[in-house]
């Protein structure tokens, strides 16, 4: 097995043994069940509520895991000095970073899949049928995963050179900023100071655009999502992740571990 794979699987094992993940998954399933009840309030929006509530739960829980555990990936190993013994082995620093990333990505995939299963069960319970339009929900879940991978990469990047708390704040801040890329780009029209508007526009091109992955509306109303968008988003996420991880590796390779 490759060294990256070894680190990845160990990271996955750690997540599996952490009871927090099970509680979160359970919470998500409770959400799905309650969505069925909530949907009864108004006529005709049962499915919409289940999908929106379900996807929101999956997204939020996924984000919490990505940010908090993502930041801890590197800092915990330093704190517990496991990293010290590890780096004395023939393991390169970049292999370590990549392995940790892959491990958490795997964890998120499994977790998200489990919660999505709950979502589809709830949907089936209400509709008693499966339609082509339901694939939109599947795509929405996939996009959530892409988004989470990017967040993990960012969390790792920040945790390589700041304290865990700051890393959490920066990652969360960057994520939220990334949801408003569209607004920033069009700021110039409404802002008083054109220089500020220009600056914001410039920033908007550098920021990771998390709006790309938002298809909750389409999934809720059963509109099919184009294969082109799926391919483009996948490529975007992969490319951006690679860039962020490359910078993280560069920083980590130079870091003095006190």
């Amino acid at each position: 097995m490759t060294r990256v794979g070894t680190v990845a699987l160990n990271t996955f094992r750690e997540a599996v043994r952490d009871r927090v993940l099970y509680n979160l998954a359970f919470f998500a399933l409770v959400m799905m069940a309650s969505a069925i009840l909530v949907g009864q309030i108004s006529v005709g929006i049962e499915q919409i509520v289940i999908v929106t509530l379900g996807l929101s739960a999956i997204s939020i829980i996924g984000l919490l895991i990505s940010v908090f555990i993502g930041v801890g990936l590197v800092s915990k190993e330093i704190e517990k000095r496991t990293l010290y013994a590890l780096l004395a082995k023939p393991l390169r620093r970049w292999e370590f970073i990549l392995g940790k990333f892959a491990g958490l990505a795997l964890t998120l995939t499994v977790n998200t899949a489990a919660m999505s299963a709950g979502l589809f069960l709830a949907l089936f319970y209400v509709k008693h049928s499966v339609e082509r339009a339901d694939t939109a929900v599947l795509v929405a879940v996939y996009f959530i995963l892409l988004k989470l991978a990017l967040v993990v990469a960012l969390a790792m990047l920040f945790s390589c050179f700041t304290t865990p708390l700051l890393a959490i704040l920066f990652t969360a801040g960057l994520y939220i900023a990334g949801l408003f890329v569209h607004e920033m780009r069009n700021m110039q029209a409404s802002t008083i100071d054109p220089a500020l508007g220009g600056l914001l526009r410039g920033i908007s091109y550098v920021l990771p655009n998390f709006e790309n992955f938002d298809v909750m509306g389409a999934a809720a109303h059963g509109r099919v999502i184009s294969g082109m968008l799926i391919a483009q988003n996948t490529l975007y996420a992969a490319l951006y992740c690679a860039m962020v991880l490359a910078v993280a590796v560069a920083i980590f390779s130079q870091r003095n571990l006190k």
Partner: protein, 320 residues
């Protein structure tokens, strides 16, 4: 002359500190030192002297400001060299959600073993460090001593030629210390090179072929323990009791140190018999006469004092 197992040349490390990280603190200065193959080398020094810094530099956990080092002939930047070295970090916690067997298995996977070999090695190591029965318990339930033993196990499980241990005795009870000592001696018997840092001087005296003493970031002395402290005895010590108060004994008493009813008196070897006569005349009961051997501790303390004096002088100059 055979190539040293560890060859350090002018290794220097500065740490930035202060508000904008502009000031520098020199924690290691121009360290030049060799550890020969097959010897047990003790790295001594007070806290903060630079022992851990040196070891971390060797392990490539931190990067030198200047200087270089080679292990087994390869530069420390060569990752392949790590196949032949084992390292025990200071006060390790390891992965508390894993069992000892799982931790060792994890670390073993970074070396080229087959699955069967790995399993066997892990069992062997657990036995060697006395954790066979605790192998399936999660590390979060381990005592400090047990964690130290796991650390030792992972350092030697791949049979490295060079073993580097950072404070291997810390936090261990006397039983644990004895066990670690035994393991180090066994490694020596196997012909391995062992470098370990400690501030327990008696351990160093017992185990090491040579020691290096580092104080204030500078190497103060290298050599066999006996060489460093000199073979010259420093006099004799008489242990006696003095019942009652006798006039003639009073000057002797003044020179002696008292513990309860007993007195210790130090005299030069040449003046031993004269002192004995006077004690006899005073009616003292002599309990024992022993040779005062020089200890590493005194040598050590002298160096520390000297360094402190120098540091104070530097400060005074700086404030002026």
């Amino acid at each position: 002359m055979a190539e040293p197992a560890i060859d350090i040349e002018n290794l220097t490390k500065d740490y930035p500190y202060g508000f904008l990280q502009l000031k520098k603190r020199r924690s290691l200065e121009n360290l030049t030192m060799q550890v020969q193959a097959g010897e047990v080398f003790g790295f001594l020094g007070p806290n903060g002297a630079g022992k851990s810094t040196t070891i971390k530099l060797l392990m490539r956990l931190i990067f030198p400001t200047a200087g270089s080092a080679r292990i087994l002939g390869k530069p420390i930047s060569d990752i392949a060299m790590h196949r032949d070295i084992g390292y025990l970090p200071e006060q390790p916690y390891f992965y508390d959600y894993l069992t000892a067997a799982e931790v060792l298995d994890y670390f073993a996977r970074f070396h080229d073993f087959t699955a069967a070999e790995r399993r066997e090695r892990v069992q062997q190591m657990l036995k060697k460090v006395g954790l066979e029965s605790a192998g399936r318990i999660q590390l979060r339930k381990y005592s400090k001593g047990m964690l130290q033993r796991v650390g030792l196990a992972q350092a030697i499980l791949h049979d490295p030629a060079v073993v580097v241990l950072d404070e291997p005795m810390s936090g261990l009870d006397p039983v644990g210390r004895r066990e670690v000592r035994d393991i180090i001696l066994e490694l020596k018997k196997q012909g391995k090179t062992v470098l370990f840092s400690t501030h327990i001087l008696t351990d160093a005296e017992m185990l090491c072929d040579r020691v290096g003493v580092i104080v204030g970031g500078k190497l103060q002395g290298v050599g066999a323990p006996s060489e460093l402290v000199g073979l010259k005895a420093q006099g004799m010590e008489i242990l006696f009791e003095l019942p009652g108060t006798v006039e003639s004994g009073r000057e002797l008493l003044a020179q002696a140190t008292r513990t309860g009813d007993r007195y210790h008196l130090r005299v030069e070897e040449s003046g031993l018999y004269a002192a004995m006569e006077r004690l006899g005349a005073a009616g003292a009961k002599v309990l024992s006469v022993t040779q005062v051997k020089p200890s590493l501790e005194e040598y050590f303390m002298n160096l520390v004092e000297a360094d402190r004096a120098q540091a104070a002088a530097v400060e005074v100059r700086a404030t002026k």
